[in-house]
């Protein structure tokens, strides 16, 4: 992976800070941080293990609950989860820096090449996992520990999913994502890369050759904007992937317009800025309060010098001889109070000169893979029950492919938890089958 300009966002704790912070933890009973973590990491326990000098044990506590514990230490919105629940959120105190301590413990395992888990006694059962992202890897890790043979079918040439390709390198470096994947591979996981179910992998083969299937294919490309000149618009995820893998984005230009206001939009904005674009602006058809990006992401973007334009929708891409020269937008009217009503203000069109337009308005659903497996879904959102079972016996699902907007957050930590639950459910299914 290429070097990337700019410093990582997260500052590493010094050994002294680690000691002070770990010893400041109260070791709460029935701790709210643990309850707030979607994977229920035993936070007081892993922090106590840092404090008592058992870093391997600390990493084990974290990774046992969350196979993506190293990347979650970097990408989790901790102020909404563990740190937000810390009893030290008082007027006079600040919460324990749980995310930073989790990073310290998992870094120590990663840098020391510490082997924590081993595969279980072989059961003779085979499980296929569609997608080698956080959910698929988490499921694979536990299934291997249960003793099942696991094959991951990954559409990219490397494992890790969005952790490897979709999260900006200054928030999550590729080596961390790949290390997590490697931990799974080392348990004896078979990996087939560039394998797309419904394209070059026959769904019938999966169902026939494996005792169970876990669908963890995530989501697809950014959907179309539906405006003239669309062909000149970059897909934010493709852009981040290219930037993260090559450290560059040829043709980015000096003025970049990003459409959308979620966390991926923030990543596209800050990535553009760090790659050298002088003026990077976000355009969003609704208001600041409706942004789906986390507050800390928004704050970070502001610190990086990003500009924001609210209540304006893209109308047309202006291109000259195949090159983008501007974006025509139209002003919108809506309340800033969360109301879904949005009106286009006729005649309010205006043009913003720019060299590149990047769209980050969400992700499409991978209907090919989902339909190929013949599981029920709601507009591409795979239907599962509490045990991650789809409508089809022996087929389970986890991660972004079951993420329905407005329900849970599409977070790495949620995907890891769902992968873990799916693995437990598969194990039960195979045991009884």
């Amino acid at each position: 992976m290429a070097d990337f300009p700019g410093k990582p966002i997260q500052k590493e704790l010094s050994p002294l800070e680690v000691s002070i912070e770990a010893n400041r933890c109260l070791y709460c009973y029935d701790a709210p941080c643990t309850n707030a973590c979607p994977t229920h990491i035993d936070v007081p326990r892993f922090i106590a293990q840092i404090a008592d000098g058992n870093l391997k044990g600390s990493a084990r506590t974290i990774l046992e609950a969350n196979a993506m514990g190293a990347s979650c230490a970097r990408v989790c919105p901790v102020e909404h989860l563990c740190e937000g629940a810390c009893v030290y959120n008082t007027e006079s105190d600040t919460p324990i820096r749980i995310g930073d301590l989790q990073r310290y413990a998992t870094d120590s395992a990663r840098e020391g090449n510490v082997k924590i888990f081993t595969a279980g006694t072989p059961t003779g059962k085979r499980v296929a996992i569609v997608g080698g992202g956080p959910a698929g890897l988490a499921a694979a890790r536990d299934l291997l520990r249960y003793g099942h043979a696991v094959t991951i079918f990954e559409s990219h040439d490397r494992l890790g999913g969005l952790n490897t390709y979709g999260i900006v390198p200054f928030r999550l470096s590729t080596d961390v994502a790949l290390w997590e994947a490697q931990q799974v591979v080392e348990l004896g996981c078979e990996v087939r890369t560039n394998a797309r179910v419904g394209e070059n992998v026959a769904p019938a083969t999966l169902v026939a050759e494996y005792d169970a299937v876990v669908l963890a294919c995530g989501m697809g490309d950014v959907p179309k904007l539906g405006i003239p000149g669309e062909e000149h618009v970059w897909d934010a995820l493709e852009f981040i992937e290219r930037a993260k893998t090559t450290g560059a984005a040829p043709g980015l230009g000096n003025r970049v317009a990003v459409i959308g206001a979620g966390n991926t939009a923030i990543d596209a904005l800050t990535c553009s800025k760090r790659l050298g674009a002088e003026r990077v602006t976000m355009y969003y058809r609704r208001g600041e309060k409706q942004m789906s990006a986390y507050q800390f992401e928004y704050d970070f973007a502001k610190e990086e010098g990003i500009e924001f334009r609210f209540f304006c929708a893209p109308k047309r891409v202006l291109a000259d001889a195949g090159a983008v020269v501007g974006l025509e937008l139209v002003r919108t009217r809506g309340s800033n109070n969360g109301s879904p009503r949005l009106e286009i203000i006729e005649g309010s069109e205006f043009v913003e000169p720019c060299d590149t337009i990047i769209s980050a308005i969400g992700q499409s659903r991978l209907l090919n893979s989902i339909d190929a497996l013949g599981v029920e879904h709601d507009g591409g959102v795979v239907r599962v029950d509490d045990a991650m079972r789809t409508s089809r016996a022996g087929v389970f699902a986890a991660g972004d492919c079951i993420f329905a907007k407005g329900e849970r957050e599409a977070m790495v930590v949620e995907a890891a938890q769902q992968g873990k639950l799916a693995a437990a459910s598969v194990n039960e299914y195979l045991g009884s089958g």
Binding site: S19, N23, L26, C28, Y29, A31, V87
Partner: protein, 421 residues
Amino acid sequence: MADLASNLAGIKSPNPFWLASAPPTNSGYQVARAFEQGWGGAVWKTLGTPIVNVTSRFAGFNYREHRMVGMNNIELITDRPLEDNLREIAEVKKQFPDRAIIASLMEVCEQKPWHELVKRVQEVDIDGFELNFGCPHGMSERGMGAAVGQHPDLIERVAAYVKEVARVPVIVKLTPNVTDVRFSARGAARGGADAISLINTINSVMGVDLDTWNPIPHVDGKSSHGGYCGPAVKPIALNMVSDCARDPEVNIPISGIGGVETWRDAVEFLLLGATNVQVCTAVMHSGFRIVREMIDGLSDYLDSKGLRSVNELVGKSRNTITTWENLNLNYKIVAEIDQSRCIHCNKCYIACEDAAHQCIDRVRHGNNGAYDLVVDAEHCVGCNLCVMVCPVDCIDMVRVDSGVPAQSWKERSAAAVSTSG
């Protein structure tokens, strides 16, 4: 402003803060620096036949991120010639005539060497002697230090030798490495000592290195037990001071030693019956300058209590310590949790549940899954454990009127006997 001047058995100092005989009082240079910062007195590093020391010599006992909660040393008495020490004592005394300089002495248990040493040392202008019967390591193997302090009759005998020739007050420094320190203190009193000082350091092994399996500290892979001191020993020292202060057969002034780091610690020693205090570890941790805060704090405290002299504190709490049989069995307090200050760490809950009397309940509060921690006041035994573990001090122990007059075990037993009789 209150008067801090102190007088221990005739040894006067402008305040009750002395440096204990230890590494910080090893030389004239150090003691002069200490006096510049305001120390009221200094007990010079023990004089005797100069010894040879080993390296390393010290080790700290750390608790979590707190360093030197306890400390241990295997250093011996002075390793410098007597004449050098005496010359420096004279120089410092001349420079700081209002401060107390006490010469700590150690010798073998024979009259002649003690007489010679005492006479030689008091040729310079010193304010008192302190007999080191406490050093628990090294010197004790040669029949000195704690080897003397562990035998009340030897304490008495040597104290008497010194008193035969001493022209200044004599303090006997006691070792805590005995079963009942009052026997040692009584020996000192019988020998004619003018005061006692306690405690010297406690026998200790500081630890073992988990990688090398060597002891800590180690000298080329080996160690011997050392002397333990610092904040962690204060409760042990307070108990021994209190024991001596209440013993009618001791009845001589006490210089309190053991974990004194702030004016607050000093006040506790004084309240239990010490006339002054001696400090070492805190200085080894932070330097002589800490005495400025000690003086300020003590002075402001005395003013806040409306006391004119530090001596008014001495022994004020002496009689609050008694034997268990005299405690009121009918006194009852229970825990009360201030819900508005509780941060719900549940530490009181788990402590009470697992280690006390299962008297804190988690009561669901509303529908959002939150719990209140509520004390079962009927069954609470008032043990204080919840207060101790609470990180935000939101638990108070409140008095409950038991409706029964005070009665001690002793009284109850006597009443039972008289009833049955």
